[in-house]
Each structure stands twice: as structure tokens, then as C-alpha cells.
Symmetry: C2
Subunit: 163 residues, 2 copies
Amino acid sequence: MNELQDPAQRDLHGSGAVTFSMRSEYGVRFMVALTRMDHGEPVSLTDIADQEDLPRAYLEQIIGGLRDAGLIDSQRGAHGGYRLARPASEVRMGEVVRALEGPIVPMACLAAAGSPCNRADNCTVSQLWSRVRDSVNEALDSFTLADLAKPGSPVALSSSTKH
Amino acid sequence: MNELQDPAQRDLHGSGAVTFSMRSEYGVRFMVALTRMDHGEPVSLTDIADQEDLPRAYLEQIIGGLRDAGLIDSQRGAHGGYRLARPASEVRMGEVVRALEGPIVPMACLAAAGSPCNRADNCTVSQLWSRVRDSVNEALDSFTLADLAKPGSPVALSSSTKH
DNA sequence: TCAATTCCGACAAAATGCGTCAGAAATCCC
DNA sequence: GGGATTTCTGACGCATTTTGTCGGAATTGA
């Protein structure tokens, strides 16, 4: 069922800097699958979990963030399920990932909004992490949900220029 | 000694997506400090740990990666210590961070070099993570060690003058 | 009423991060 | 040679986070 994380990359001390967790992987795949399967009636979680082979109970828990962020609408009860709250072409993937993981903060240094590092004066290092943060957000926002939902065919960027 | 990670950002389920670990924070600060303190003779770990207020024993362990990557030279014994192996202006921060953390892999999906996701056909999602990976590497490589080592003076480059 | 479905909180196992510690090996100075 | 200094290495421990599972409550349609 889960043959991910097979130990095939013992590089240095572990596995390398894995930026995002399974939470994002599952949540993004959920959104893409929902986009593809949404034809008017709500799509049930079980259908999506089966389709994408994701752990249903865990997914249930993950999705809360997407609902709270207003990215999906839910309907309870028989024949209930989920729908996209907005057209897929108007949903940036940055919104999705941030709804799942919280704000992108490459280094704890940047977490406290006001003072970077409490070492403000000579801490030029925070500029490095700031730029990484901005880059990640830009990269994520350069995709829309619609970009990922159309199968095959390398994604033709809808908004971003290139890289 | 450690007043980092004060719980000041209870956004969603935890702390947000913290991309890099203390390992990188400490390692990068070590490199910057070394650059500033390197005046010919090797600089001892204790001097740098004191200067930057880093846990010495942990730093010792972290630095191994930098040495193995050929970024610093070490000399053992009395009056030993570390030196930069190359001029600071020729060291990209991407090299430093990758030496510390291993390869930048935003999602486990991309770890196994050959097949993305073992779901190759309809997995357009991997394109998202690929672009994030490339963006992070580019952002890191856009700084040299020399950029960060010169104090004060915001680094001359584009688009980082917010808030 | 019954079945389907989302919603919610508690729980648990495993992985990871962060750091300490003790000691071995190398090097310099007297 | 001997002692002081310093890097190097592996083992260990603790706390937190991640990755789920489970049971049941609330809601809705038939």
C-alpha cells in the first residue's frame, strides 16, 4: 500500500532536505483528483482515496485545512462529498500548499514576524532565507490547479514567463 | 541558551513548512563567521562557536559535511582549526547548503532518481515539485559566501526590499 | 428509520531533529 | 618523549513532528 520512502538515497546523514511532507503530497493529489472528477455532483472522499490510492482516514484529517481556507466546499450526509469552491484555473498552487502546510518559512529564524534572528545587526544570513522563501512561493504560484489537472502534456505555464 | 522556536505562530496545525533545519542555519553561520575570521591561520571551532553562540559539540558534527564536500580545509592538533578551501566569492551558497543537508528534494516523490512517483503516466504533480526544487537551488546559488560575509549593507541583487 | 458521508478529537507508532558525551587520532611546543 | 590542544568519530538520549488509525458524533438523502 505504501511503498514510498524506500531507503534508496543514503547520501549523507539521512535523506536530504525534503522540503514538504506527505501532507502536501496527499493534499495536492487530492485537489488534482477532485478537479478531474468534479462533474457537478460532490465527490466523496472514499472515491478520491481509492482513485489516488491514498490513506483515507489520514486524508480526511488533512483536508480540513483546505476546507478552512475556502478552497473546497463540503456537503455532509448521503451523496455528500467535496467540490472545488472556485474554478481550477483561478486557484494557485501556492494557496493549496500554504493551506496544507501553513506559511512557507524556510528557517525558524524568520518565524517571528518582527525581528529576524534577534541578531538583527550583523545577520546578513536572513537575506538568504528570505529569498528562498520568496522563490518557493513564486514557484508554487506559477502553477494553477488547472495546469496540473490536465493530464499528460508537460505543463504550459498559464501565467509565469519561464525560468 | 536556546530561545528559538517560541510558540508565536500557531497558524494551522503546527509551525508552517520549515524548509531547512538548524543544521543549515548553524552551518551557514559557521561559514560566514569563518570567512570573516580567516586571516591566514586556521580558526578553531571553539572560537567560532563562541563568536556565533552556537552549540560547539553539535557544530562539530555538522561541519563534517562541509569538509567532505571540500568547502573547508581542516588542520588537527594544537593551533589547528579550519580555513576556507576556496575564495569566498567563488563559493555559492547552494554548495554550502547542499553539503549540509544533502540534495534539495522538496518531495519524497522525487527522491528515487529514475522514476518519479512510480505513477509516471498521469503524475503531473511532480512538475510542481521539480520547479520548486529548481527555484530553491537557483535562489541559493544566487548568493556567494562573500555576499553574506560583508556586514550590513543589504545584498545587491533584485527584489528583496519588502516590509 | 437507515445508510452514507463529513467532521472531530484522542491515541499511538515511527521517524526525525537536536544535541551531549566519551574517547581516539593528530599535531604543536617544551 | 610528554603534555596540551584540537579535530574526528560513533554512540546515545530526549523531545517533537509526522503519519497515520480509530471510534463516534453530526448531518443529510432516501
